[in-house]
């Protein structure tokens, strides 16, 4: 079975809703290639509702930050308020910020 699965590698699926602004990771699936991964994603994750956008990425192409390095990786920003771009007023006409 492992041999069969090796020809159906894992893909990560990102979907953007019809009025969504960005793609959201919704899950993963197995497929032999990118084309079929998109088709399978449509069946599994969107019920083929029109107007959505699907991205598929081979799981092996994704590099993740390491949980072990979480503290040194993210901590420097947490306690330094001057690192956050929050010291100005947002004009009314700016959407989606």
């Amino acid at each position: 079975m492992a041999e069969v699965r090796s020809s159906w590698p894992l893909w990560e699926v990102f979907v953007r809703g019809r009025r969504g602004l960005n793609h959201v990771h919704v899950g993963s699936l197995h497929a032999p290639d990118a084309e079929m991964a998109v088709r399978n994603a449509r069946d599994l994750y969107t019920r083929r509702n029109e107007g959505v956008s699907i991205w598929v990425v081979p799981a092996e192409s994704i590099t993740a930050s390491s949980p072990d390095e979480k503290d040194p990786f993210f901590a420097p920003a947490g306690d330094k308020v001057y690192r956050h771009p929050t010291f100005y007023d947002i004009p009314d006409g700016v959407p989606h910020l």
Binding site: N22, M36, N49, V52
Partner: protein
């Protein structure tokens, strides 16, 4: 953005309880005028809606037999989706048949309480699944012909048939694409998959002719602008199939069309041997509990 579950980001606000998941759907049938065109013979329209509905119902039943048996989990879902699309088409068409008939038969009555000789589906759709390649071959032939038909039927003088066809075109385009993709993958795959795909096509090809054979009901209704003369579909279907077969390194089967029985075939209620078994399984519960409500 942060969401408790990923789907929140995809869903639009809605309070429509019909949709278990997803949003932005609308029922295209809800605004359709259901009056029966006065130019049409009701018996003919009833028969025609049954023909199209039975095709979809029987192929849905066959395709559903794959549930949990497909080669891959993802393919299992894809086949189930196709079966559900076809069942949806069957429900609309049988409902239309029932209201045109005017004898109080609803979709369930028509699906579960007719005998084999009263079913008007083409014999292609009742053929057993066989292996995966054979199932794909059957779907390729059916979806290609049905998509060509529905594209034309969406201009039908019967507003309900037109709406059913318009709705079905999107589904059938997906079915045809799915079958074509697999035909190419299997045909241009391994030696064994090529052999099986060719065998699947050889097995199903004799039933192709029936999809182009016009029944008198179809001809009369086509004259009235309600139906489509299926012989008009042949050129388009041939072109699509030739293109798929070429890409798949497969050859068009050189086989004779399946014989009729005294000129009668599926559209007249004359079916092949597997049909009776299919109906026995499909109708068993409904027939043993005829007054049940579900």
């Amino acid at each position: 953005m942060s969401f408790d579950n990923a789907y929140q980001a995809l869903a639009e606000e809605h309070d429509d309880a019909r949709w278990a998941y997803g949003s932005g759907f609308h029922d295209e049938m809800s605004t359709v005028d259901r009056a029966i065109p006065s130019i049409v013979d009701r018996a003919d329209l009833f028969a025609y809606a049954l023909m199209l509905g039975d095709d979809a119902l029987v192929l849905s039943q066959r395709t559903a037999e794959w549930c949990s048996n497909a080669p891959e989990l993802e393919e299992d879902v894809a086949l189930a989706n196709i079966a559900l699309d076809l069942l949806g088409q069957a429900r609309l068409l049988l409902t239309r048949a029932g209201e045109v008939e005017g004898a109080g038969r609803d979709e369930d009555r028509l699906a579960y309480f007719r005998d084999e000789t009263e079913f008007r589906n083409v014999r292609l759709v009742e053929q057993p699944n066989g292996d995966f390649a054979q199932t794909i071959a059957r779907l390729l032939l059916f979806a290609t012909a049905r998509l060509a038909l529905f594209a034309r039927l969406s201009a039908s003088a019967d507003p309900v048939l037109a709406a059913v066809a318009a709705k079905g075109v999107k589904e059938l385009a997906y079915h045809r694409d799915h079958a074509a993709q697999w035909t190419v993958r299997l045909g241009d795959g391994t030696e064994e998959s090529h052999r099986r795909m060719q065998a699947g096509l050889d097995r199903m090809w004799p039933y192709l002719e029936e999809l182009f054979t016009a029944h008198p009901v179809e001809l009369r209704l086509a004259e009235a602008g309600v139906a489509v003369d299926p012989s008009e579909l042949r050129a388009e279907v041939d072109a699509v199939l030739d293109q798929v077969l070429a890409a798949a390194t497969l050859t068009r089967p050189e086989v004779l069309p399946l014989a009729t029985v005294g000129g009668r075939a599926g559209r007249d209620g004359v079916h092949s041997k597997p049909m009776g078994y299919l109906l026995a399984e499909m109708q068993h519960i409904a027939r043993s509990q005829p007054d049940a409500v579900w």
